[in-house]
Structures are given as structure tokens and as C-alpha cells.
Symmetry: D2
Subunit: 321 residues, 4 copies
């Protein structure tokens, strides 16, 4: 496997895309990609792992104080009240007999906080997963590869790989890459192994760094970031995992290790391997808990909202031990 390789060309990316492709593997109509690895038996076995009945939420708060800065048009969620306690007392609801109520709404980019990318989120050389063309994603939404087919699929074994812990530090530095041997090392440290159909949660500690310094700063795509090297593409493909997620904005180390293509791991792994990618996962409490009890795998449930045509979904992932 690729190791510690620092720079790549567009030719390398295209070569990896070809070698690590699952296009056609589950048929030409497939929209699930590696989520196909989550079989009923996988789900059943994962649920059996629940020993303590402890639930951890891996979502950040959805609110105006989130990480988004407006880059690429992504803002933080706007939550507004359609009816509130002021209306309860002011008489604005006197048309209703006795009962009073509050009601609210949200405006948000689907990928502004903790989220899944759908397989319609990324195109490489004019194609998305399973050889599909851009005209399948119009202003009316994605006709194929939307988040909707995953509505009942994301229930499997989760594994936390705590890379800064492996490296004996609080967090990886901005620009610090995670390599396949780091993933293997973190699994070994956790005394666990990565299995087909798992969802792998890779902690870089970037969110802990933001907490420590008291603000998101350039977390949301405009600054350097720790994250996966493109060198992980083969590991992701060979391990036959269902998906992975990180505590960063964009999964990949920034700068990317190539200037010829932005987010090359998305181009290879999401577009060609068909992997499920999660971003802006809050893994800090989970990491602390795993360090306490030594248990790094768990039942993992993170259902997307089935928003018709959506190319991503806000989620509140649950790690259940």
C-alpha cells in the first residue's frame, strides 16, 4: 500500500480512481456504493455488541455559532420561531381554546454541520458514482445517488480510530496528514480490527483544538487542516468498509498533497469506491469515553433525513455501547 507519500499528480489520482473503483460492482442501478457492505447479518451482529446501554451523540450543535463562515455559500443554521412564548402571553393565540403552543423552523445548508455526503455530492472528470452524468442533478435535486436510498441502511458496527492519541498528542496540527499506517496503528492501539461493513470514525482532534482556542476560525474549508492523505484511498477500498467520518470540515488533509485536483480522496473514494463520507462529527466525548472503558467499537446508527433529491443530510449520529 501507499505509505507516507506526500505528493500526487492528477495522473496518480486518475490511476487510483481506476484501481479502486466499485462502479458496476453492485449493478448499474446501484446507488448505495459501499453501504452495500452493511448486510442484515452485519447489522444484527453490531447490535449485539451493545453491552452497557450507553448512548453518545456525535453531532455538534446546529445553530448560528457553528463552523461555517460563508465559504462556498455555506452559512450556519438559521433557526426561527413561528410561534413562541411571547405569543402565548400576548393573546396572539386566543383563537385556540386553552392550549397554547410554540413552533419553529430552520434554514440551513444540508452540509453545514454534522452530515453525510451523498454519492451525488462529488463529480470527477464529469462523472459521479456509478458512471452517472451531471444532468442527473438539476435545480430540482438529484435524480440518482441522492441521500434517500440510505434512509434505512446506516446501522452497523462503528469503530473509533483516535489518531492523536496514537501519536501522543492532543490533536494533529493543521496540514498534518493521516496515513494508512496511522489507521492501522490506531486500530491496534484500540485492540480492535477493521471489518467489512464497518463505519470508521477517524479522530484528528481538530475540533478539540478549536474548543481549546475558543473559536472555529478557518475550520470550514478556508484554512489548513489535518485529515486523511490520498494515500488512504487504497486502505479504504481494500478494507471494504461501508463508510468513514472525521471531526473535520472536509475529511482530507489541507493542503491536499496535490494542487492539480482539489480533495482528491473524494474524487477517488467517494466517486469511484462509492464510500459513505461523514464530516464535522464531534468525536471528543466518544474518544474520552473509549479511553475510559477501552471499548473502541459500538453499534452505530446515523439515519439521514430522507429529503427528496438531497445530496447530503444533517445527522445526529449515535454511538451505542
Amino acid at each position: 500500500m501507499e505509505k507516507k507519500r506526500l505528493s500526487f499528480t492528477i495522473g496518480d489520482v486518475r490511476d487510483m480512481a481506476r484501481r479502486f473503483s466499485n462502479w458496476g460492482r453492485w449493478g448499474n442501478e446501484d446507488e448505495l456504493g459501499t453501504v452495500n457492505f452493511i448486510t442484515p447479518e452485519k447489522t444484527r451482529a453490531a447490535a449485539q455488541r451493545v453491552r452497557q446501554g450507553k448512548v453518545l451523540s456525535l453531532a455538534i450543535d446546529f445553530d448560528k455559532n457553528g463552523p461555517q463562515s460563508g465559504f462556498a455559500g455555506r452559512m450556519n443554521p438559521i433557526h426561527y420561531m413561528m410561534q413562541d412564548g411571547g405569543d402565548v402571553v400576548s393573546g396572539a393565540q386566543d383563537w385556540i381554546p386553552v392550549l397554547r403552543y410554540t413552533d419553529d423552523a430552520i434554514i440551513m445548508p444540508l452540509q453545514c454541520a454534522t452530515q453525510w455526503d451523498s454519492l451525488a455530492h462529488i463529480f470527477f472528470d464529469g462523472k459521479m458514482y456509478n458512471d452517472r452524468k451531471p444532468n442527473l442533478v438539476s435545480s430540482n435535486g438529484a435524480e440518482k445517488n441522492s441521500i434517500v436510498p440510505l434512509r434505512d441502511k446506516i446501522a452497523t458496527r462503528g469503530v473509533l480510530l483516535d489518531v492523536p492519541k496514537l501519536k501522543g498528542k492532543d490533536w494533529l496540527e493543521p496540514g498534518e496528514a493521516v496515513y494508512p499506517e496511522d489507521l492501522d496503528g490506531a486500530a491496534a492501539m484500540a485492540k480492535t480490527s477493521i471489518e467489512r461493513g464497518d463505519i470508521v470514525l477517524v479522530r484528528t482532534g481538530q475540533m478539540a483544538m478549536c474548543r481549546k482556542r475558543g473559536g472555529w476560525g478557518d475550520y470550514a474549508g478556508t484554512g489548513d487542516a489535518p485529515g486523511l492523505s490520498l494515500a488512504c484511498a487504497e486502505w479504504i477500498y481494500r478494507k471494504e468498509i461501508a463508510g468513514f467520518a472525521t471531526d473535520t470540515w472536509g475529511t482530507e488533509v489541507l493542503p491536499n498533497g496535490t494542487t492539480e485536483v482539489f480533495q482528491p480522496l473524494h474524487c477517488v473514494s467517494l466517486v469511484h469506491t462509492g464510500i459513505l463520507i461523514g464530516e464535522i462529527f464531534d468525536l471528543d466525548a466518544l474518544a474520552a469515553d473509549c479511553a475510559r472503558d477501552g471499548v473502541y467499537d459500538f453499534f452505530f446508527s446515523a439515519p439521514p433525513l430522507p429529503i427528496t433529491g438531497a445530496v447530503g443530510s444533517p445527522i445526529n449520529p449515535q454511538a451505542i455501547k
Copy 2:
């Protein structure tokens, strides 16, 4: 227990509110209500029930064709593309090296589709759950009783009570009430029992009726509807369930059995018992599946989005057998 009682006065409602109240039961600071019945042991045991690894989504599609008609300001979700396939081909993304992407956003009332009510959603006689005042819910959101404390709590045993099946019909008629004996009867028919900490899914068949007739019509609060009678308030309280949900807009039978107070069961059970209520659950596929395999209980995971200050949350509930 109350049975088949058809009409109620505001005095009855206040009396029930007093008798079936959990205010203070878990302390003055409590914001969970009956979700406190979901203990780690409960979660653990529920997960152990997973035998087949089968997952069913109980959410309807989130889109413009949803049930909302604008009543009380609730519209269906508006999904819009911030970047789409047209931009991929038109050159609008040529500022990015090679990778192309799509991105999207949503505008929606938090209770427009499948959803949880938070304990800040309803006020009765000037108070919400645990003796809290309306000024705690301002235009800035709910300071107390928001949906956020439930972020890591909704993992428990779910039970489907298929009332139309019990009654030998396809659906309950608009205006047809569900009584405690119907709930007990449906449980008996399913050869199961209701236990402390369960989340009970009560199927009325109204959604099946809408499917049959080809449209939502007056489903969203403006027409008659099947649903729970206020007579169920004691059953809900005594059973010490964590929550319940239905396949209707508003849980309760409409008309309500009293003209003196709107949605009286919310006033008693949500405000005083502190029950978790889910609405617009799609229970049809689940009902068909339960009828097939005879298994009416399952692991149930339905995490809300932790939207700061929110009085409800869109969800994609998962029944896992």
C-alpha cells in the same frame, strides 16, 4: 381506567393534568420527562432484541409534496440547490481544480414532516412541562425543554400497536377514537406487552387512507382525523412509557371530544406527564412487516437533530429487528 368516554370538560382536563403529572418527579431541573424511563439497561436490552438485522425507516419523504397545507404557517420543506450538475458542466466551478460538486439547503418547519415534539412545544394554563413559564421560549428559542437534551436518549424498545388490524379494517375513519382497551387489545393481538421505557407506535391507518385516495387532503390539522382519545391519558401515565407516536398529524382524535380545549391529550400528557410525542410517522411498511413475521417489538433509534433552542425536530426513526 377511563374507557370509551366520549366527551370531556375543561375541568376534566385539569383534573387529569393534576393526577397524571410528573412535575418534580425527576427534580426541578429535569427536561427529559418520561424519557427518564429509558435507562442504560433498557437500551441494552432493546438492542439485544435485534435478531434479523432488518432496518425500517419510519419517516415520510421530506419534500414539497408533503402533508402541509400552510395551516398554522406550516409549509412543506423547500429544498434548493446551491450548486448542481448544471454548474458542473457550465463552467461555474472552473475556479476549482478538477473536482466538481453539488450542494444544497433546506427551509422547513421543524414539525412539517416526521418529527418529535419537544416539551417546550405545548403550554397549558400558562405552563409547560415541569412548571416552566412562557418567557423561557422567546424568539431566540427555548431556554428550557428544548429538543436538545434528547440528543442521546432515544434508543429503546419500540412496540407497534396496529389498531386497524385489531379492528379488522384498513384504517380508522376520520373522527374515530382510539381508547385504552384498543391499545391493550392491539398489544394482546401482537402477543406482546407494553413495558416501562418503551416507545409505543400507534397506527391508525390514516396515512394508508391518504395513500389509497391519492393525496394528503386535509390531513394536516384541518380535517377530522382518527387518533388517541383523551381517555388514553391515564394509560400513558400508568404504563410509564417513554413516548409514543402515531401516523397522524396531531396524535389526537379530531374532533377532540371536547370543544373547551384544543388537543387536550397534549395538555395532560405532554405538559404534565412529560411524554415524548412523535407525529407523522409512516407505520405502514412496519405494520406489513410485523404482520409477516409476527414480531411487533424492536430496537428503536430516532435521534433528534440537536438544534439549539428547538421545540421540535425532524427525524428519521429506525425500527431495527
Copy 3:
């Protein structure tokens, strides 16, 4: 000129597009189209017509009770309060010394109520005004032909042509077309003439009909409607008017007089003549006023909001006599 012609082929439309084209007339960089006819002298003379100091608003209310039904994704405006009187009294603003405030926001399609179309709103045979291609309008907005260049241009003479009054009826029936001779007849009845650079307000009475019957019904694009026949395209071109507006959803008579192309007058007059088109103007009070004082021309000011990249704008047009 074309008169009373009832049906057209796509060939007719293409022929008219060629004959009534202003592409290149004001240079290849032009984004104003016929608004170029509004010269400073025209604006000056129009202002001089103000004799009474009477102002009439031609906008409908912007609110949830507007004409939109969701057709083509257009909804009515959603107005929400960010801060309201309840917050003033509840203490939610106690962080501010003494002053209290309210604040609000809106979500709306730019063409949901009284509005201008920009020249980027319509394409015919793959081109918009002045031979421009679709890739100039991406998800980021219109790079050319947006509403913005009109920000300081819409101040000219307005003329009301009250067609139902000419025909001795309260309103034109759905499906009833307005022909060039109707426009000429209405001008003659008003003892006025149409001049270069005018904005012509053509009243069909459809809004009065909706008021009479108590609802918008299928006003917004889904039903038959009175409106301009394609036969008016030459009149519009020859008169060298700056723009026109109607009290209908879509300007044109529906059905259109051809099934081969939807809204053919837009294809000819907006795309090729480069005309400014206004829709959903409330002309009823103005018509009553003109009937009273016999003055059918006035100073007309209807500035669009300069929304970057917008293909339309909500407006509150002012007729000042």
C-alpha cells in the same frame, strides 16, 4: 399589423422573433433592452406631468395569502419575526439598555408577487436577450441581463390601458385575448397616445375577478387567463415602449394560441425585443382613479431591488399623478 389572429405555429414565433428583434441595437454589451428608450428627457417630461401630487401603489400585499399555489416551485412570501413584542415584554432583550426592538425577515421567490422579469428570465431556442447563452445564469445567479442594471432606470411616463372598460365589462374572461386594436382602442378611449419610452399598464380585470369571487383560485399559472395575444408582439416592438405590465400572473392569454411553444410573447418580446415585463400588478385602484379624473397617464417609478444576479425583482410600483 397582426390582428385577431387566433393560432400560431412555432415557425410563426421564430419569424416574429427575427422581425421584432433588438439584439445588437444598443450594442453587444447592452443589458437594458427597451429600457434604453427611457432617456433623461423622457424622465424629466414624465415628472412634469405630476399635477395633483397623488400617489397610487400598484403592488399587491406580500404575504402568505398571495396568489401562489406552489406551481413551478413558487410559494407565497414567508415573513418571520426575528424579534417581536413578546421578546420586548418577556425580558429576552434585557441585555440592551432601555431600548427595545422588533426585527423581521422574509423568504420569497422574487417573482411571487408584483414584480419585474429581468432579461435573464426567459430563453428561446437556447438564447436570452442579446444573443446570450444559458451558462451565464448559473446557481450563482445571472452574470448578464440581471435586474441590477435597471436599478436607476425605471422612472418614466406610465399609461393605463383599461381593456375591460373599453369592452364594457368588469373583466375579461379567462382565455380572452387582448389584441393590438384593443390596446389602441383603450388608448383612444383614454384620450391619450402611446409614446416611445412609456411603460404601458394593461388591465385585464383578472384581479378584480379574483376579488369578486373571493380567492386567487388558479390565477398563478395553472388556469386559463385573459392576457395579451402573441399578435401584440409587433405593436410592442413598433411602439418602442420601454415596458408593459399586466394584472395577471403571466402577461399572456392562456391558453396561448399555440401549443407548440409556451408563453410565445415572452419568447418574442422579452427575449428578442428586449422588453421589460411586469406581472401581478394591482391596477384596480388606479383604474378607478383614472375613470374618476379622466387622466390615464402619470409619472411612473418602480425601482427593482438591486439583488446581485437576480432574474426578477419584487417591486412596489408607484403611479404619481
Copy 4:
């Protein structure tokens, strides 16, 4: 009159509120305040002033690059495409015969860019203009004092007072106050006078400063700003102007000259005098034009959008010479 007074107490503010109050002046039902000074004769005379036919837009661009930073929940406008050129070419509109189109929408606080405050925007000591209570502004909007009554009222004489020009500088410094003698001085310099019913545009140059330094910075309410001193309240009242506007976020000098009440001039002049206040007006091009031709007064048309219940409105004010 008050001059150069630098600091005030809450007692001073209350005293001024009492002395400069127009509550009841136009009856208890009045919702127009000083806009009542715009009579038909005033409008007529103002229109007659148009000599050149030159139109200047005083609005900034409405887009994501606007001044808002999220302070007090105000964001910049979000413009999104419902249909765009990509859909024209991709086939997404092939359900329509031949014609193709684009369509768009906006999400924005009503006071995020160039705007009017309505008389329901500010409360002082529990009341808004004309002795009205907060319960008149619920989550459903303002029942009284909304922007709607102004829909056909804002057509009058405008006058530019260029204060930095008077002071021989490019702009007033952040924190620099404008006093009544500055207003009189700027009028004298312009060889004009302020008359009853005028709308007075007070330029501080802050927007020019932002342009020079290349960004909005803390313009939107979070930094020091030039602006009117509370000492201007009497001038505003005595002159019987219909309204005034500035090129700043909040009209008033920041810091305010008192820490006991925020934005005290709003408390006196908007709440008690009932004055129309405009903010974030772009006066730079107008100032340059006035300096060129020596003409500082003009016809002024700035109609609000009649958004039901709105406490402000985006506008594109037109100065027509």
C-alpha cells in the same frame, strides 16, 4: 436648541421624548407619523423640481457581500436559483414546449441592506409610536405601525446634507457626532433649506471609508460609527421633516453619548416624534453628483414593499433630479 452636548442621562432622553412627541397629533389611529407632512402639494412640488431627468439609486447591492456580520441575528441576503441556465441545457425543463426560463428566490432580514424602519421597529419604556403596546407585534407580525401604510406615501422632496464635505474631510471618523449646527451648516453650504415634509439624507462618509479600506469591517452595529447626536432630536422635531436617512448601519453616533439607553435618538425621534428613518443608504454617488452640479435637492421616491406585518422594508431609493 441643544448644541454640542456630549452626554445624556436616561432622564434627558425621557424629557426629550415628552417634549418632541407627536403622539395623538394626527389622531389616535395614525400610523404614519411625520410622513403626514408629505401632502399631495408637497409631492407635486417635489416632482416639479425634476429638471435633468437624471436618476440615482441610493441602494447598496443586495447580496452575500453586504455589511451584515450576524450581529443581532442579521445576515446578508441569501439569493438562490430555483431554475437556472444549467437546467435550460440539461433537459430539466423538457416538460415545457420550447420556452426555457430561470427563476430565483431570496432569504433576507428586512433590514439587512438599504431599508426603512417602520414605526413598529422600536419601543421605549414599553411603548411604540402613538402609545401602542408590544402585544401588537407578535410572531404573526405588526398589527399596527407596520411598513404597509407607507406603501403610497414616500414621494417627496429629498435634500442631501453632506457633512464631511462641510468639514473638509472625506468622512467623519468612527465615534464622531453630527450636531444640529452641522445639519444647518451643510444646508447652507448647499445653498438650500430644509422644509416641512422633506426627507433629509445625512451623509457621514462611513460607507466611503469602508470602500476605501476594502471591507465592511464592524460597520453593522458592532463598532464605533459616525452619526447623529441625540442633540439632533429637537432639530428633527422642529423642522417637521417627514424622515431622514444616513449612510450608516444605525443612524446614531456610536458610542451613543449615553450608556443608560441604547440608540436614544430612535427612542425619541422614531418612537415619539414618529419620524421615518432610513439606514444603509449609499449616498456617495449622489454626493459626487451634487458636488458637480451644485443641486442638493431632488424628487425622492422610495416605496417600501408592502409586506404584511413588516417592521421594516428593503428599498431602492431613487433621487431624481
